[in-house]
Symmetry: C2
Subunit: 213 residues, 2 copies
């Protein structure tokens, strides 16, 4: 899937250089956010981290809000691409769901700046709001689809695939609130333990239903 990046303000495709600069800014911003918290971080702190003139930073992002929105959009686009790839693969459903879980925990905690979970969609202004909400809905849909598939196949059981998907996504997204790089376990290990717990939660009841224990 080729990703077309369009500046949501100017509505024109951005230059490769601008996109690269924005990503470099996000990485720096992410370090500052982790160090001093989202609320306490200003555009000046981010510029200082980059050794960049604040004026240059404002060329790429009008304010912190824009920066966070771009960050969230980037994160969601990447997750959605990975999810669509996993959805299209022909591995067993439980394995695909587990893989999706591991990839999510890895990405939101290691690859993407940790602000995915912090920003409220409600607090976003157009045109970010719609772009991010659409990606978020599509991403949730992949979880729901996999769970529904598992139910059809008889390997999963749940009353409500949507509620189950939200439980799983909540567990995954919440990791950005407590995960610390260099801690006792890395994101992949945590992802694998989450996958085991959550896939088992869907699987177990299918098995108990047919009386095998």
């Amino acid at each position: 899937m080729v990703q077309i990046v369009t500046d949501p303000i100017l509505k024109v495709p951005e230059t490769a250089h601008a996109i690269e600069q924005k990503r470099r800014i996000l990485e720096a911003a992410s370090r500052v956010f982790r160090r001093q918290g989202l609320h306490a971080t200003g555009m000046r702190d981010i510029a200082a981290e980059l050794d960049m003139h604040a004026g240059n930073l404002y060329y790429y992002f009008r304010n912190k809000h824009d920066l966070l929105a771009f960050c969230q959009e980037e994160a969601l686009t990447g997750l959605l691409e990975a999810a669509e790839e996993i959805l299209a693969s022909d591995a067993p459903t439980g394995e695909r769901l587990g893989r999706l879980i591991v990839v999510h925990v890895e990405r939101v905690n290691e690859q993407t700046p940790g602000s995915l979970a912090h920003l409220e969609v409600e607090a976003l202004e157009e045109p970010w709001r719609r772009a991010i909400q659409e990606r978020r809905d599509a991403y949730e849909r992949v979880y729901r689809l996999l769970i529904e598939r598992g139910v059809e196949e008889g390997c999963f059981q749940t009353n409500d695939p949507r509620v189950a998907a939200m439980a799983i996504l909540g567990a995954l997204n919440w990791t950005v609130k407590w995960y610390r790089p260099g801690g006792r376990k890395d994101a992949s290990e945590i992802g694998r333990e989450f996958a085991e717990l959550l896939v088992a939660g869907l699987t177990a009841r299918a098995k108990s239903r047919d009386g095998s224990h």
Copy 2:
């Protein structure tokens, strides 16, 4: 358990009237937060919702930060009391964990204003920070203890009770981001479905280990 409420700024017990006023303010604030988002809500909007002079509101809370911190402290204290009660009961471990899950989803979405999950501990100033972190740690400990108990009893299986506890708490806390009062399902129903999924996730592997399926 008798709850002693101490004003964290003045370090003196508050009058019953002041506590009642603060709770009334929290309820109003919660309605405004839900309606227009946390970030977009100012102290003036909360005062307007209460038909109160802004000056009176500032008598109880110096700013929005104080109000949110009080809100989070209240919520955590209530959750902790409920959790300790459930921990002390003699119901089977899986049932107790399930009960804890249902109570949490109910409380954060219906009884307590929805700001529990929004406020970063990192963004809190002392003395709130310590008070809230202590309660949060104690509350997480109850989950960990119940999971460890289940593992000892052989009814649960997990590599890491702490990681399992964080997965469960993440699923629960995230509900404040998507739960809507008057929606398709109420908080109790969602809580029960979460409990089924999450307790099954811990239980299933204990059963598969002893080869019963």
